[in-house]
């Protein structure tokens, strides 16, 4: 039948987060991966900033998971760019921090600011790295079913699923509007040229709202009565898979325990 629509607007997609593969990490149960991610990131977040060895060990664990996953370094570094704002903010802190100061050449730096900077940068990079490792090795649909298995309320999973399902359509719609503007000579470069973009955003909002109404009708017409049905059987999570998924978290926990041991 007919080909893809929107050839002009095809580009990055939320489904492109997943990097297909057959590594041990790819094949691991998604629920175990998600549970492992949540526990690992929580432990990293509560690790004291002075526990440099523990945080470094956590960073090594994330790097090892990426190596085992065979994720391309360029792709990982590209996605880590998402933490750049945090890193930039962190790098400011030594200059604007108060308290004891140290001098590096002619530059005066706050000791507290340096620790705060390290804390933000290290935890942002480790946390983002762990999230990248999981999202790059788990298909979006498996992530959603993982949420279901973790007993996340069905309504929240449905909202996440709808967002995943329709974000590409909305982005595609915006891209088509931009192309329509450009094709009629619009060349947005300056702030005062923002009006058409604002108008297109408003238009997308209205269209999205109307689409939401149509989707609701489509749901009603297939018997939806306000509660989402269970459309697939939930496989039980095996203990062995859970243990593997929680392995990085166990290492983070060990590091934390050593640091906090009196």
């Amino acid at each position: 039948m007919s080909g893809h629509h929107g050839a002009l607007t095809r580009g990055a997609s939320i489904h492109g987060l997943y990097q297909p593969g057959h590594s041990r990490v790819h094949l691991l149960n998604p629920t175990a991966k998600m549970l492992g991610l949540v526990v690992f990131v929580t432990l990293v977040a509560v690790t004291p900033r002075t526990a440099v060895a523990a945080l470094s060990a956590n960073a090594v664990v994330v790097a090892l998971v990426m190596v085992v996953s065979k994720l391309p370094a360029r792709m990982v570094l590209g996605r880590l760019a998402a933490v750049v704002p945090f890193v930039a903010f962190g790098l400011l802190l030594p200059f604007i921090g108060t308290g004891t100061r140290v001098h590096v050449g002619a530059i005066s730096l706050s000791v507290d600011g340096l620790w705060a900077s390290w804390n933000i940068v290290a935890k942002a990079v480790i946390g983002a790295g762990a999230a990248i490792a999981v999202t790059s090795t788990t298909a979006i649909t498996d992530l959603l079913s993982g949420l279901e298995r973790l007993k996340v309320p069905a309504v929240l999973v449905a909202i996440a699923a709808f967002m995943v399902r329709y974000v590409d359509l909305v982005v595609g719609e915006l891209a088509r509007m931009r192309i329509a503007m450009v094709s009629r000579g619009h060349d947005p470069r300056w702030l005062w040229q923002i009006r058409p973009i604002a108008a297109s955003l408003a238009s997308v909002f209205v269209r999205t709202y109307e689409r939401g109404e149509r989707i609701h009708l489509a749901m009603l017409s297939r018997g939806y009565d306000g509660s989402l049905p269970v459309t697939r059987d939930v496989e039980p999570l095996r203990t062995s898979e859970l243990c593997v998924g929680l392995l990085p978290a166990a290492i983070a926990f060990a590091g934390l325990a050593i640091v906090l041991w009196p």
């Binding site: 399902r165 009708l217 297939r222 018997g223 049905p229 269970v230």
Partner: protein, 253 residues
Amino acid sequence: MIEPAVEIAELAFRYPGSKEWVLDGLDLVVRAGERVALLGANGSGKTTLLAHLNGLLTPQQGALRVLGHQVGPSSIAELRRRVGLVFQDPDDQLFMSTIGDDVAFGPANLGLRGSELERAVELGLASVGAEYLRDRVGHHLSGGEKRRAALATVLSMEPELLALDEPTSGLDPVGTRELAKLLIGLGTTQLIATHDMAFALETCPRSVVLSGAKVVLDGPTRELLADEALLAAHGLALPFGWRIPQEVQPTEG
């Protein structure tokens, strides 16, 4: 005597806040097993009529019986089970994270679980030859694949009446032919709202034309499409270079 699949008498409907009747005194009878094309200009009420068939809209005036049930609050659950409504835009119909989940959505709402649900999903996908789409996400399917998947989402509920709204929109000629073949092979009662005259001629032995909020023409599709002047009088036109020999005049009114 077999009861008609759809019996409509003096049906009238207008949307809240609107003074204009979208349907006004509409009469129509569709026999079980028939495939009927609903033709009409934009805004002639085709989609509104289809939405009445499984209770998405309920009549404000007149009578509407579908599969032996008077359409109203008490019959809605039964009609949603037995009448499959396929929307114009498949992206409105494919809202779950995979096609398999979408096809399972209707049967699961009917209470099917486990092997019964699995059988329904397999049936729906197999009916349209789309078993391979089961684990795919809706967004990256071609127009034709989306259309087939949307059809599978209602076929998995084994409906006795199919209502299709502009099923050929967005399809290329090959996709349109494949869809026509598929619908002809299903054997269920079908009401197909379409602007595609060739598709109507291929799939539906009978057509009705909606204009002025009511049915104005009703007859064999071939005969109806043969009268260009009559079609033009009701805001319809044949594709360029297309002409059907005029044999019999359709019945007016």
